[in-house]
Assembly symmetry: C2
Homo-oligomer: 201 residues x 2
Amino acid sequence: MSKGEKTRARILEAGLKVACRDGLGGLSIGTLANDLALSKSGLFAHVGSKEALEEAVLKAAFDRFVERVIAPALARPGGVARLRAIFDNWLEWTAAPPFPGGCPIFAALHELDDRPGPARDRLIAAQRDWYGTLIRLAKRAVDDGDFRADLDTRQFTFDFQAIVFAFAHARIVLADPAAPERLARGGFESLMAAARNARGI
Amino acid sequence: MSKGEKTRARILEAGLKVACRDGLGGLSIGTLANDLALSKSGLFAHVGSKEALEEAVLKAAFDRFVERVIAPALARPGGVARLRAIFDNWLEWTAAPPFPGGCPIFAALHELDDRPGPARDRLIAAQRDWYGTLIRLAKRAVDDGDFRADLDTRQFTFDFQAIVFAFAHARIVLADPAAPERLARGGFESLMAAARNARGI
DNA sequence: TTGAAAAAAGAACGATCGTTCGTTAAATGA
DNA sequence: TCATTTAACGAACGATCGTTCTTTTTTCAA
């Protein structure tokens, strides 16, 4: 790893931190350079442009999400076990993202949803992949015989995601710090129970 | 209505439009003044400061939400009818907020969640009120005899909100434009069915 | 119609933004 | 060790940011 690559990694790490707290729009080449004890132009040379920096930071967020949420879950056997692991990991990711401040991907989604361009396209494509992954896992659970054969896997995925989004919201809003997780797990178990095969699992 | 009041109303309307598209952070006194064919200083005199402008625009968003989502629903009789009306209105609000670009309140929540201050406090307080309103309506539905007596109204409210959040997300992400509403209504009917009194309604 | 009050304009401020350029310092491979 | 590539710096740019003044125009009531 050359010096340049090392510096770039430091930049993306610091950028991810800022993005968690203030979103992609909160990124500033000047303040980022200050944080890293670099000159503005020195940092600029590494990233090429503000837009490229935003994209690189977003990609770093994706990589982290895969590493923390998806990959460990896919190591589990079977659809249900993987779905449960994803739920756990996702909740933890939401409660404690790479850096304090909230999920950077979720923040980017709200920042880019009305700013057409390649960054938005890439982000939406990634979200569709995510949808697809969850649907595939639900189908797998059906094939495993753990979920009902007539389960609407799209609806299941929608409801699955809904719980996590509401969890993220409740964490910000509700006064009782234990409530969000309790509510999210309550909703999740109901969802799983409703999806279960009649014979139970 | 004096001239000043009229101009201020125009400012807030235009500000709300910008906030829907780019969030509160996207507000700029300069560009806002340009849009309204005003001078920067002329507009500034009306709002006092950037922060005050953000707060005023956020308040305008709240007022609009009450007007479009809450008030019409509270005109209905009984807890269930009001919950159904709120769901319908909220979905429509999410799909077509005052101006194109997404719910300004939701966007503000993500912008302010890590920026302590009176604006954040007011926003969170409003969200708690909203939670409280939904819980109260669910209790009302229990009292009406339409919902199960042992219903966990907090869990119901959590699940209720979850569906709308997932709807907002799906609208941005999913390719099929009809899918989000279909999924949201599917989830909602399941939720209502599970909450219903055994005797049915 | 006149005169006070309110509204809007205009110019300038310090700061920060992303970006470009030319130059210096450091790392790297032969 | 030396030559060359790479990394980082420093200064400056035009633009925009929120804000503060002073001045001009408009509104509105007596």
